[in-house]
């Protein structure tokens, strides 16, 4: 039986891989579509990694530039998002190494989800008619969760963000971080233990828990 390209390479089922292949063939609109699709998610991830949105936007542009320059030699071996986040993570690691320090971020709690609008996300900011006390409590939770996330090491943080907000499987996270899925399982286990350790006191306070799950 004759097999088509998609059967031979399951990665080709990824519509974004197909867009990238069109970009490789010289279709500029396909590349524009990729930028439009991923810009918010990429900037979101990088903002949490670098803790600075302006730096994240600059780095996101660099990621897209790297992808654009690599288009002629592009060979689909993974989902497009996996490939893109791997580039992003490598650049972010380099940047963190170069700067050697963390910078404070000013995040607007009224913005949408951490990595941009996603199906099923719950946005506290969308809740209307919040009382000032509730708003203050929400700001406190945000600060606490951000601090808990920031306390994780780089790989743990990336794995958590990719798993939580990109809904990536262990296998895809492994491909992004150049690890084995078994190592990712341990990594996420340690990350979630660390998060639990930091956040448990707040979870046990019913008010904070009720806000977070509203």
């Amino acid at each position: 039986m004759k097999q088509n390209g998609t059967d031979q390479n399951p990665v080709l089922r990824d519509p974004d891989v197909r867009l990238m292949l069109r970009a490789k063939a010289g279709d500029e609109t396909a590349f524009t579509q990729l930028v439009t699709t991923y810009q918010v998610r990429l900037v979101g991830l990088l903002t949490h990694l670098l803790q600075n949105q302006e730096a994240a936007e600059d780095l996101a542009q660099e990621v897209f530039l790297r992808i654009y320059r690599a288009r002629h030699g592009y060979e689909p071996t993974a989902r497009f998002s996996t490939w893109m986040f791997r580039i992003a993570n490598n650049l972010a690691c380099n940047q963190r190494r170069d700067t050697g320090r963390r910078r404070e971020t000013v995040l607007n709690v009224n913005d949408s989800g951490p990595l941009g609008p996603r199906p099923g996300e719950r946005l506290l900011a969308d809740k209307s008619g919040m009382m000032p006390t509730r708003q203050a409590a929400q700001n406190e939770i945000c600060a606490v969760v951000q601090a808990a996330l920031a306390s994780l090491n780089e790989n743990q943080r990336v794995a958590v963000l990719l798993h939580k907000f990109e809904e990536m499987s262990y296998a895809d996270i492994a491909a992004t971080l150049d690890m084995t899925p078994v190592a990712v399982k341990s990594l996420l286990s340690r990350a979630r233990d660390n998060l639990r350790e930091k956040l448990e006191p707040y979870v046990k306070q019913g008010v904070l828990g009720s806000i977070a799950t509203e």
Binding site: L123, L149, D193, L195
Partner: protein, 169 residues
């Protein structure tokens, strides 16, 4: 009431993988059994779930509408100079090549003309000797005759030619 058993590191990893839907069937059944039997495990999974849910409050980022336009134009800007520089370099090299070739041709032409001029217009000792070979060859006879008028007379009577003819053969 469930047993209070501390979970091993492997059991904790499996518990989290189970929460994430990443545990294969035999392992998943094992975790379900532990959950059914252990209060600690049930508490663990509850706290892990709730702390995981807390991440939903993380603020997101807004990317301006200009971001994609800026990104795409910066990519074009980063690519364009490379092309233009490449084109400029090519045409500059070509121009330089043409200028060098023109200079080389000019130098060669001047060289040729100079060489020819040297041979045509500047007296050459060898060619002068060649041209005056007849006089030089008979110089002893002419000096013996001594008188120019007498030489002219001999020339008019072709005596000299006859005299020299046998020696040419």
């Amino acid at each position: 009431m469930g047993k209070i058993i501390r979970l091993s590191a492997e059991q904790r990893e499996n518990l989290i993988a189970y929460l994430d839907g990443e545990l294969e069937e035999p392992g998943a059944q094992e975790v379900e059994q532990v959950l059914a039997e252990s209060v600690v495990a049930r508490h663990e999974i509850d706290m892990l779930s709730r702390t995981w849910d807390l991440l939903n409050v993380l603020p997101g980022v807004k990317v301006s509408d200009e971001f994609s336009r800026k990104t795409l134009s910066s990519i074009r800007a980063a690519e364009q100079p490379k092309t233009r520089i490449g084109g400029d370099a090519l045409s500059r090299n070509l121009r330089r090549g043409f200028v060098l070739a023109a200079w080389a041709a000019l130098v060669a032409a001047f060289g040729f003309v100079g060489y020819q001029g040297l041979h045509s217009w500047v007296p050459n000792e060898a060619s002068q000797l060649f041209e005056e070979y007849d006089v030089i060859a008979n110089l002893d006879d002419y000096q013996e005759i001594g008188d120019i008028e007498f030489l002219r007379t001999l020339k008019e009577k072709h005596t000299l030619a006859e005299h020299h003819e046998p020696s040419d053969k």
